[in-house]
Structure formats: C-alpha cells, structure tokens
Symmetry: C2
Subunit: 381 residues, 2 copies
C-alpha cells in the first residue's frame, strides 16, 4: 500500500489547544503541519511548521491557506466551508468533508439530520425567532439553542417556565425538550478513507454547574455493558449516516428510563477525549491525524481508568496567567498536566487540563476534585 502521507502537508484551520495536541502527535510521524488562526499568539504558534495569522471565516484567506497544503482539516467548526468546498472541488483532500462541517455548524440542520436518519434525539421544534419560541410553551421545560455560532456553552440556555420565555434567543434556533437525564456520555468514533471505523469506550461527563462546559470526565463511564454497547452503536450510526471521514465526538444523554439520545456532535478532537493521551492505546489527537491522512486507525482500548479535569481561568482573574499548585499536583503518581500556552487568562477560559490515572476507579472522582482544588489559574497579584 502507498504510504504517501509521509510526504504530505497537513493544514489545520484553527490553532488552539486542539491543534496544539494534534501537532504534539504529528511530530512522531514527521508530518509538517500548517496552521491558520486569527490570534497571532494562538497556542499552536511556536510549534507549527508554518503559522499563518488570518481569518477562518474569510473565503479568500481560507482558500489561499488551503492551496498551500495537501490535506486540510479543522480543530474548530466555525470556518468558511465554501472555501473548503472549493478546495475539495479542485482536488484537495478536505476532512471532515466541507458539507458536513456546514451541516454541523447549524444546530437546526444537525437536529433535522438526526430525525431524518432515525438517530434518537430529544424532541424538538425549529424556531425562527423569539416569537416562535413563545408559540411553543408546551415544550417547557426546554433547552433553547441558537442555530449558529454557539460554542463552549454560549448560545445555549434552559427555559424552565413561561417567565423564562422572554429571554429566548431572537434568532433562528431550536427548542428541545429538557431531558431529565441520568448521565451524560460521550463516544468518539473515527473513520478513514480506506473504510476502517472504530469507536472509543464511552466516557462520562460532568458539566460545570454554571459555565455549561465539561468540568470532569471519567473513563470508563459507570454504565452497564448494555448501555455502553448501545452508546457505541449510536455513535457509529451517526458517523456512518453522515459518511464522515475524520473523528466525531458524539455527546449522549442516558435518560432515567435507560434511553440513549444524541445531544450534540463535534467533527474534530473534543474535550471529552483529552484523557486518551495517557489513558488509551491511541490518543484522539493521533486518531484524528490517522483518520484524515488515511493512515490505519489505532486501537482505542482504555489502558488505565482515568479522570480529566479542565483547568479554567479563575473567576476574578483577567490578565497574564500564573499557574498555582503545579508542584503539588505533579508530585502525585499518575497526574498529567497539559497547559495550552495561552498567556492571558480570563474567567472560565480553558487554560489547560489535567488527567489523573488510577487503577482504582473509585479513587478517580476524589483525586480529580482534589487536583481541581490544587491547580488554580490566576494572575500575578
């Protein structure tokens, strides 16, 4: 078989922490990575083979960047998909495929896709504006989502009662039944052009109570074999229905009656897979590389149970970041800290993450919570 990925240049739209961890993996294969990001101090800046500062949403910028690469991928969905489609039309390899990025960018299309493909998901109605939301008071309590541009908890809100309706988004979005879930799971699946398909074991996500982003993650998920199997099957159903090449993180609800519903998907490395760097045979970042470059997919087994905690900027601190507690955390067996190279912190900004490995699953939660208490991202006082 022709292993021509060795001579190919991979372009990534986005130079944040996800791209940074992809580059750390790519170093092992001598793969040159070019990065496009609007931030001149993006986390990938100093380690990319080539770094271009520019807009991810401007057609000409994305097109010109893509022309200089052989294979193009993303680490963020909010990119100019028309430019990517043009590049694909001209013969560049673009994975995930541009039309799928476009579909996933719009939560309305995403939901409709689940429905059209018999993928289990919470009941919903598409809403064009605030008035349309108000027309559907029968959905309450419900989750109101903006169609586009939501990220890390922005563009999503819970509407519990009539009184909440007036804060509904006054733009195209959707309203979905609030699921009284028992657990939130995530399953990452990967698929390459040569037809291989593989799923990671399900992980369990615990969300931050107010910031609406993953606070802790546990692998394995504490669910029975049947739920685990069903979650994987649904994730595989999604990637196959999309016919997507690359990796796909599928966030799932497990309802109190044991039903599994797809919440959202992300066609790129995802916060729910950070632990795979140390905990699994193949990290999600390497798997992303393997999938988009048509390398063989890697084994996804969990080597050691793990917990992951996001290291978020402390409330009340904005400015040049200082990490407290690293010494104490790094003294522990099986603690791995990943800082993202962001000079400036602000409340809830994702500044890094820590993974805890422990053969004893019962210790993971306690240890992860302790690490979160130990490591604080502040500013110099």
């Amino acid at each position: 078989m022709q292993e021509n990925y060795q001579k190919k240049t991979l372009g990534i739209l986005g130079g944040g922490q996800l791209g940074r961890m992809v580059i750390q993996s790519a170093i092992n294969y001598n793969i040159d990575i070019h990065i496009l990001d609007p931030d001149p101090n993006a986390p990938c800046k100093s380690i990319a083979h080539d770094f271009q500062q520019g807009s991810l949403t401007d057609f000409d910028t994305v097109y010109a960047f893509g022309k200089s690469c052989d294979i193009i991928t993303i680490e963020i969905e909010n990119v100019n998909t028309e430019a990517l489609q043009q590049l694909a039309n001209e013969g560049k390899e673009v994975f995930p495929q541009p039309h799928l990025i476009k579909l996933i960018q719009d939560k309305r299309q995403q939901k409709q896709f689940y429905k059209d493909n018999n993928i289990p998901t919470a009941d919903f109605v598409l809403t064009d504006d605030r008035d349309a939301v108000i027309q559907h008071a029968e959905f309450l309590p419900a989750v109101n989502k903006l169609g586009k541009d939501g990220y890390d908890g922005r563009g999503v809100q819970v509407l519990r009662s009539q009184a909440d309706l007036e804060k509904a988004f006054d733009a195209p979005g959707l309203l979905e039944k609030l699921i009284d879930f028992d657990k939130e799971l995530a399953v990452i699946v990967a698929r390459n052009k040569r037809g291989e398909l593989i799923a990671y074991p399900a992980v369990e996500c615990a969300f931050h109570p107010t910031a609406n982003l993953v606070e802790f993650l546990f692998a394995p998920a504490s669910v029975n074999e049947k739920i685990e199997q069903k979650a994987k099957e649904i994730a595989i159903q999604v990637i196959e229905s999309l016919d997507l090449i690359g990796i796909l993180a599928v966030e799932l609800f497990v309802t109190k009656s044991g039903e599994i519903l797809v919440n959202e998907i992300a066609p790129r490395p995802h916060n729910s897979g950070h632990h795979t760097i140390e905990a699994n045979f193949t990290s999600q970042f390497e798997q992303h590389l393997r999938a988009v470059m048509n390398m063989p997919l890697g084994n996804t087994e969990l080597r050691t149970p793990a917990a992951m905690v996001n290291l978020l900027g402390e409330e009340g601190h904005s400015g040049e970041a200082l990490v407290e507690g690293l010494d104490q955390a790094l003294s522990e067996r099986g603690v791995y800290v990943h800082l993202y190279g962001k000079k400036i912190t602000k409340p809830f900004r994702k500044m890094g993450h820590a993974t805890v490995l422990d053969e004893n699953v019962d210790m993971l939660k306690e240890r992860a919570m302790r690490i979160k208490e130990i490591i604080k991202i502040k500013t110099e006082s």
Copy 2:
C-alpha cells in the same frame, strides 16, 4: 513553594532526537526551549521556540547561547564545558553540572571515578597510546576504548588476541577486561536540586551484533528481584557519588556469576529510556525536564511491559529517507512509532524508534523483532 520554572527559558545544547522528545514533553508546561545545534536541519529545528545554528564545542558560541537562557542543559555530552562552567560561575543554572559533563566526556576519568568511589566496574588500565596497550597483553581478551569522542559505538573495539593488538587506538584511552556477561541492563536515575532522587526499573538491552548500539530493549528486565534491586542501588550510588542534578543513564553488565558492573553512564536522556514515553508513568524526557528545572520528580513505575527497537538506516541506502512498512506496523495494537525528522538516511543512522506494549511479556521479543522486519528506512528507488 515558588514554582518559578514556569517563567524560565530552557536552553538545550544539541538539537537531535533526544532534544526533540524533550520539547514534545515541554509543550505540556508552556516551557520555552531554545536549541543550539550545528546542523541547520536538526530534528528540533521546526519545533523549538528558538533555534540557533552553531558549534557546540566553540566557547563563544556556547557562552552566547547560554546567556540568552535561564537554565541550560544538554542532550549530547560533546559540548564546550568551559563555556558552561563560565555560565554557571555567572549564576546561570547549568545541569548536569559542567564539571560532571567534562568528567563523563573522558572515559578514562569516568573509569577512575568508579574506582575511586568503590563503584563496581570491570578491571582496567589507562593507556596513553598503542604501545601502552601492547604492554598490557595480559588484559586480553579486552575492550579498548578511546578516552574521548566515542559515540554510538565509535571509539570502542574488542581486542581478542595478540594479533588484534596492532589495531589498538593510538591515543589516550583505556583497556578493560572483556566481561563475559549474562545480560546488559540499564537503570535511569534522576535527581533534582530540592533533593529528590528516583530510579526507573531496570531494562534489558540487546545490542546490534556489529553496529555496537542498542538494537532492542525490554522492560522489565528478566532478572530476579535481587539483581533488580542491586542494579538500582548501584545506579543511585553513581548519581549520588557524582552529586549530579539531572538524569543519568547507567549501563550495567550482569556477569554469569551474578555480579553487577557499571559499564558506561550518560548524563541525559538515553536510548535505553525511549520506551518510558508510553510504558512508564513519567517519560525520561519529562523527567529530565523536571530534574533540571527543579520540578518535583515523577513516578517511574512501569505501566505496561514494553520492548523498544531502534529504527536504523538500512545498509545500502544513503539519501533522502523513505519509511517502509509504517502502515503495517501502525495497524498493530500497542505499537508506537517515533520518527526523528531526519531527511537524510545512511546505514545505521538512528532515524527513529518503535515501542511495543504488551501485557504478555513473553510476546514482546517476537513482536519487537517483527516490527524491525516490517519497518525499513530506505531511500526512494
């Protein structure tokens, strides 16, 4: 405790594969690494925060490079230690300490140091030239080593009989009794300024029959607990006797009578520790960082048994490298390939390594040998 390593710049003399793997680790801590190397295409080139092309043995070059860093370390011993001493005298942190690099550069001083500190090692005699070697025919069969500038098998030869004496090195060196060993082990130890000291489990090295460099490595070593313990004790004795800060790889012979003798030492990440990236809780590259930057040392336990195989340039191939067999190797569970970013291959050049993880120790040798047969570093035909 002041964790001021976060704001420090680390300079590394040498930009080869060892520095490259240190940088991969340092990315997790936002540590900026500056590299000095004479090769404009050194493996660290594209991922170092700052890369300076220049001689490692020239006083002015090394001194000027060191002045721009806060902490200075090495990934190769053949550097200008006078410049490093000057930097240390002026208050820079230089680890390992310059006088120890100087001592280790000279195999004669190294051997004398073992003797002076009651560290078990093969009997030897220092020889100033070929005539001096010829005077010590009673040492035969013996190993003849050049005092300085040996590396990866160069500067070392076996003299079996009188007839071999005429090929003895005609320069300052040493002659040591050829040890009829049962096994070769290596133990990596680490020590930081705050007084922590830790040893890795012993590994077993299998050398290439002609090229005199490590071909395979197995962890754990197949030795009994007593030998394992004794090997660690000797490695700790060496680093403590030297009062060295950093990491130290200690190569050891286990004789057929169960004696353990120190062969050679290297005060830097070492080929015998490459498997630690995937196999141990803390890799040797991260441990090196932790030791020289006075971070807490990391746990050294083996997570999964491992074998490592060096990927050397094939004989008969010199020129632009092409890696064969990557696809097949990467399809296997627990196989990790690290390519070093060297464009040009030549026979026996270290172009990369592969690590195989397997819970079943008995499978490791067979799997490692198969990987060596699968992956070939050639040139385009």
